[in-house]
Symmetry: C2
């Protein structure tokens, strides 16, 4: 049985599911307040299923909800992780009781030392997602994909990845008791392979580049081998992407249920930025925060900056690039959500900017030195861009700004290894220490 149609709209339900994709019947998967998939381009609605592209126009599908009244008190009474926001996500109400990694509610750090260095007087915060279980924001979207996989009766969680995602998927599957099979390019650094393989699922190295891996995965989904597989960033993508909304919810709740003036967010596919905007809109619509203007800024690495280039040129579409940067986790040359990112940056009065590899390294060191937060290169990119935006006044230093750190410096040691090390090497004597001139 071939199921090539699956990658587009309503597909046959997998063997172990209820066999129906009508969300109104009792035996249908339970997605809480999510009611349908809707095409972001043409608005076509289809039932919730393992589909990611519109049959009418090939536009991306995303989750539509019918929210009941949801109160701050209700959320605050929930668990200390993303499941406190379950009513705002495509998950059943009892989701927190199922074994899962429980990501989220990471620290929103009031960065007073950093604010002083950058001249920010209106409040500067770092949302530090290195505190997630596998130390990147990826645990958020993967948690949503996992629930969708459970709902559709998939038995294997899968993805294509160049690093963070492979570990996040393998770890989530392990805790949940699902199988996992993740695909990477065979030339991936050994350290990243070890991390991804540590969780014991299948780690398959594909001879080729990341594009080859993706093409292979799409083929696999259409084949009977992949029949009971949930690819978090392919056939489960609409659910997966919703996980990033929780960053918006947490930031606003941690600020005392209000919107910041500015958010600076890294751009890989652009999905995270667009979903954070969606999350902020959810909160406004539900009356959980007071409506007020906010600006969203996107950050790219100079060596992979198609969105920033298009923004600066005033274009609505991007020209794909071949990435050449130390910021591997943002190195997507043809970001799927680029048009939405450009729209959001312009509509909110934000901007898209980029930082060179040297600026990224400098910003990593700045953040570590001032706040004790050792960020991944993606975090360095976001802070490097923030620095520029403050310096040229596009971010008003008297306003309140939140900068995202989406990953952990332990995962990108190579990026700073050549320039970071011992201040001095000395003999074990006081004289030798004095000669080093450090005290």
């Amino acid at each position: 049985m071939r199921r090539k149609g699956l990658v587009l709209a309503v597909s046959a339900a997998p063997r172990t599911s209820s066999g129906t994709s009508d969300p109104t019947t009792a035996s249908a998967p339970d997605f809480g307040n999510a009611v349908a998939l809707v095409c972001r381009e043409c608005g076509t609605r289809v039932p919730l299923g393992p589909s990611f592209a519109c049959l009418e126009c090939f536009g991306p599908l995303e989750i539509a909800y019918e929210f009941p009244e949801i109160t701050r008190e209700q959320i605050e009474a929930g668990p200390a992780n993303i499941w406190r926001y379950a009513p705002l996500l495509p998950v059943p109400a009892d989701v927190a009781s199922r074994p899962n990694l429980e990501p989220g509610l990471t620290k929103l750090v009031r960065a007073e030392n950093l604010a002083r260095e950058l001249g920010v007087t209106g409040g500067l915060y770092v949302k530090d997602d290195s505190g997630n279980p596998t130390h990147s924001f990826k645990d958020r979207p993967v948690s949503q994909a996992l629930e969708a996989a459970r709902a559709f009766g998939f038995d294997t969680l899968s993805c294509s990845s160049t690093g963070n995602l492979a570990g996040a998927v393998a770890a989530a599957a392990a805790r949940a008791g699902l199988k996992s099979c993740v695909f990477i390019p065979s030339d991936l650094e050994q350290a990243k392979q070890v991390v991804a393989a540590a969780y014991g699922g299948h780690l398959v190295a594909i001879k080729g580049n990341y594009d080859d891996v993706n093409r292979f995965c799409t083929e696999l989904i259409g084949d009977e081998i992949g029949e009971n597989w949930g690819f978090v960033n392919v056939n489960l993508r609409p659910y997966y992407a919703e996980g990033s909304k929780t960053l918006a919810y947490e930031i606003c709740e941690q600020l005392g249920w209000r919107l910041p003036d500015n958010l600076v967010i890294p751009i890989a596919s652009g999905s995270q930025l667009t979903k954070i905007d969606k999350g902020l809109q959810d909160l406004i619509k539900l009356g959980l925060v007071e409506e007020k203007p906010y600006k969203i800024f996107g950050a790219q690495a100079k060596g992979c900056s198609p969105v920033s280039t298009a923004y600066k040129a005033g274009h609505d579409v991007i020209r794909p690039v071949r990435p050449d940067t130390i910021v591997k986790s943002l190195a997507i040359g043809n970001p799927a959500d680029a048009p939405y990112v450009l729209d959001i940056a312009r509509r909110t009065g934000g901007a898209v900017e980029d930082a060179t590899d040297d600026e990224v390294r400098d910003a990593m060191r700045l953040l570590a030195r001032t706040e004790g937060i050792f960020a991944e290169t993606a975090g360095g990119t976001t802070l490097g861009v923030t620095r520029k935006l403050i310096a040229d006044g596009r971010i008003d230093p008297a306003e309140e700004t939140v900068v995202l750190n989406t990953g952990d410096g332990l995962k990108t040691l190579d990026a700073i290894a050549d320039t970071t090390g011992a201040t001095a090497v000395i003999d074990p004597t006081l004289d030798s220490f004095r000669e080093a001139g450090l005290a």
Copy 2:
């Protein structure tokens, strides 16, 4: 001005402090409910100061408290980090308002998959301290040392370290706005040097081994160079060590304010195990948990197992060893708290056991595969020992057991790199995937 006396009992206060060490006067440092340092051996009491050894008998000094009534509600209303337990620690009441890394309240994971594999029916939990800001339990003791350094007016935070501690100290100092200067042996692996140096303080590599580094640090404390320096694990050790009590508090609170039946804890210096016991006793004395028997088990790596060897031989003192194990973070050949560990294991009906390097690696993989927790080698040691204790009945599988994971697998990738990697390397074709035989 030389201050050789400082390393023992009451020393001159540093220049920037109030100049008095009487905690009852208004200008004295504020240590909350802590009232004195008391010698663990002879019971001699001295005022709270930057001292760690008894002038009478050279025994270790530890913190004594006079606790008021403290309720569960009071603690539960506190911040979501270790500062909810401030009344039980040597810190001022407003400690949470000062810039600090806010460690603690890490996840207590109900390990259902692992319990099934090990045949545990009474409940099995992993206290996962890889969730701390610098991804090891060290953030807990360092947070206490930092407050002591502030109280004594020290301007530089320092330590000798072979890894985790150096990063924890440098990060804590950065956030707090103190200087840091940490000392490591010059042959430390480059990756660990990068992590320790990332936070921008001084990282000084000493030509010599860890013992040479320690000797140098003791000399430095007695010299005028070190006059305003707080060495977290030397002159601030009594405060530092108290941080591990919070593991006991959190475990009991997260279990719903009750004691588990068994705790399995790794042994490096032995301080963590003894302080967890002290923390459990605090909770019992304050009526925060109901008193009932509990057993404490200590875990060592076979290649550095002086305490386990002494335990098995029925000795009260250990014979120091030269460490030879992949478990670097537990590789202390002459653990200072060994006699107390032996006493606690025997008194509570526990035991001390060890795991070989292979057993450590196996346990790391077991934990990752079953629960999605990628532990440091120390975590593998603790789980490896737990496995043995369950297999031979010393831990009753019908009882409730808590296993500590004190660090993050990302920091000890080398330990499993040779044996962990891709399951298969294939061409990007379905046929090639089929041939690999994974689906």
